[in-house]
Amino acid sequence: MDDAARKAYWRSNVRMVIGLLVIWAIVSYGAGILFADALNEAVPDFLGFPLGFWFAQQGSIITFVVLIAIYVFYMDRLDKKYGITEYEEEVRHS
């Protein structure tokens, strides 16, 4: 990769990471904590649960798995787009 391609690759990566972390924060700290009581009142019966409580104990965890999956698949595509097909194999002692 030349310098311009590196910059573009890194920018795409960072943008994706920021986007996913925003969702991560909204679901856990937002829906699961700060607005949980409000959501509990607004939607008292989501699959039998108050909604805020559901986010705190079920929904956030499921979302986390989905977020990492999106990241992993996105990075695979990004690597391919920038022609990274060979991965390093070494781990060494310093």
Binding site: V14, L34, F53, Q57, V72, Y87, E88
Partner: protein, 587 residues
């Protein structure tokens, strides 16, 4: 021996023979195989191993109990979100880059990216974090053995120490990786079978994640009747503490040395990403079931109509499961109002409630999962299987942590500082001696635990969050982070958290407990503050200290891209001049 003891013994012996067989088959002699399994483990297997490594006694034995019983119910969601949400940070911010960097240990990264001072502080942090965490595991093992083998807690912990020592020393990382795949399988089966069984009998719905919903609304009602906050809302708990605890647990997850080191066992950057995905997937299976088990168990215990419940039961007619756990001192009732009946109302509690007080009942959170099958009236083999699962969880984590300790001592202290000409065998020997030492310390705290398993473990996470997470993330994402900046941030953040913990937590015996002196923040959540301090100090000091050399900045640049790159390769091969990388006057 009772039926339950026989079945426990059967499952424990069977599963342990399997682990030891696997560890023996894949035993290793050189340092590389000892610490990173030679880098050749497929992603799903590595993911399952990370999951087993990660899901400790705290997750298996303690989590459901701490969610359902430690507070009203909802507050404990901090543990659920914290211990899973950290994987998102790990997968997105750390794992691929650390894998690309390609060094063995976390202090290795810190030392190579920053300087020797930072490495040394990181080594101390790694050792303290790991020992705190192992102590939590030892306490968990002690509980399982004491209840199911009918020995006291001290003997339970001692037996656990011997077993852990045996196979952490024998196996090394490669042995441990495949053993942990087996342990994950055992623990998840042991966890899910009772969850499904109880959900069907209690709610008529087979899937616990669905049956759980109606139980929560019933619990809201029962707790209101007894004078407690509703199960599903924050009630009188502190939303701020819950927020901080979640932050500390998430960042701690991403900073835990024994989990980070796991990503070096992945074949390459791409495999490291997939390992994180598989790991969280495997972990989430337990984590979406734990709150259901906790709620079912609490419902069975406090519902006035349940067959094996305690609410309104005569003090001298308690159910069998209660008597068994009361024998080992992990559950008790004081008939405060002397009416001969167990009263669970909030108003019935004694003036000075103990930890785990629920009306006249005092319940140790750590027994909830182990007791749940008995409370729900499931057959003895299921109870035995759950006990074996709990041991698998505790042992897999303990062995991973002990390896982190031994690599910190053997590689980062002995080899780098004391004897740079040490042969591989001598390094492995130094590592094994470190393991033995760590087990002794951890065993002591396992016998004299300062708090519940999950809380001891939560403190370890706070330490990890405040020490390692900020400087690793900044080291990758901000090329201008300086060595002095990172060392100061690490010292300030970790130092603050560590001092706070030892001044507020009763470490052993009956030493008095100091009040949480920093805005009343509990010791379990203080890591969030330490994390913040670390970030701020690192950034501010970095702005005013000499920038990293251009060569260092180029190295960090390369770490950001997968694939073979010149400088990272040269660095790994030891062909990069230290003076040029770190600047004049290094060392």
């Amino acid at each position: 021996m009772s039926d339950i003891q026989v079945w426990t013994l059967v499952f424990v012996v069977l599963t342990f023979s399997l682990y030891i067989y696997i560890a023996y088959r894949s035993r290793v002699k050189d340092t590389k195989g000892f610490y990173v399994a030679g880098g050749g483990v497929p992603a799903p297997a590595n993911g399952a191993a990370i999951a087993a490594d990660w899901m400790s006694a705290a997750s298996f034995i303690s989590l459901a109990g701490i969610v359902a019983f430690a507070t009203n119910g909802y507050f404990g969601s901090a543990y659920l979100m914290g211990w899973t949400g950290g994987y998102v940070l790990l997968a997105l911010l750390l794992a691929p880059y650390l894998r690309k960097f390609g060094k063995y240990t976390v202090p290795d990264f810190v030392g190579d990216r920053y300087n020797e001072t930072a490495r040394l502080i990181a080594v101390v942090a790694v050792i303290l974090i790991s020992i705190t965490y192992v102590a939590g595991q030892m306490a968990g093992v002690g509980i399982v053995f004491s209840r199911f083998l009918g020995v006291n807690l001290e003997w339970g912990v001692l037996i656990g120490m011997v077993i852990v020592f045996f196979y952490a020393v024998l196996g090394g990382m490669k042995g441990i990786t495949w053993t942990q795949v087996a342990q994950y399988t055992v623990l998840i089966i042991a966890y899910l079978i009772p969850a499904f069984a109880i959900s069907s009998t209690l709610t008529g719905k087979v899937v616990p994640q669905i049956g759980f919903g109606e139980v929560v609304s019933k619990l809201d009602q029962i707790q209101a009747d007894l004078g407690f906050d509703a199960y599903s809302g924050i009630g009188s708990q502190s939303l701020r503490d819950m927020f901080l605890l979640t932050v500390a647990l998430m960042a701690g997850t991403a900073g835990l040395p024994h989990v980070i080191v796991r990503f070096y066992t992945a074949k390459n950057v791409r495999a490291a990403r997939y390992s994180a995905l598989w790991a969280l997937f495997f972990i989430s299976l337990l984590y979406v079931s734990a709150p259901a088990i906790g709620a079912f168990s609490k419902f069975n215990i406090i519902n006035p109509d349940s067959a094996e419940g305690l609410n309104g039961v005569a003090v001298d007619a308690t159910p069998d499961w209660y008597n068994n756990w009361a024998d080992v001192g992990l559950i008790s009732v004081t008939d405060v109002n002397e009416n001969g009946v167990i009263d669970l109302a909030a108003s019935a509690a004694p003036a000075e409630p103990a930890a785990g007080q629920f009306g006249e009942l005092v319940i140790n959170n750590d027994i909830v999962v182990l007791a749940t099958p008995e409370i729900a009236g499931l057959p003895a083999p299921v109870v035995g299987l759950v006990a074996a699962g709990g041991l698998a969880a505790a042992l897999s984590t303990a062995s991973g942590l002990l390896l982190a300790i031994s690599s910190a001592v053997a590689n980062d202290v002995y080899y780098k500082k004391i004897n740079p000409r040490a042969t591989e065998q001598r390094q492995v020997l130094a590592g094994r001696i470190a393991i033995a030492g760590a087990i002794l310390v951890a065993g002591y705290f396992g016998i004299n635990p300062p708090a519940f398993v999950a809380q001891v473990v939560a403190i370890a996470f706070g330490l990890a969050a405040s020490a390692l997470f900020p400087i690793i993330v900044l080291g990758i994402f901000w090329k201008k982070t300086t060595a002095i900046g990172a060392a100061s941030g690490l010292l300030a953040g970790f130092g603050f958290t560590f001092i706070y913990v030892i001044t507020t937590v009763r470490l052993a015996g009956d030493a008095p407990l100091t009040d949480p002196w920093f805005f009343d923040i509990p010791a379990t959540a203080i890591g969030a503050v330490g994390l913040f301090i670390n970030f701020v100090v690192t950034i501010v000091v970095s702005l005013f200290t000499p920038k990293p050399t251009p060569l260092m900045q180029e190295l960090i640049e390369e770490v950001r891209y997968p694939g073979k790159t010149r400088l990272v390769e040269a660095h790994l091969a030891g062909k990069v001049d230290d003076e040029k990388l770190h600047g004049e006057g290094h060392h």
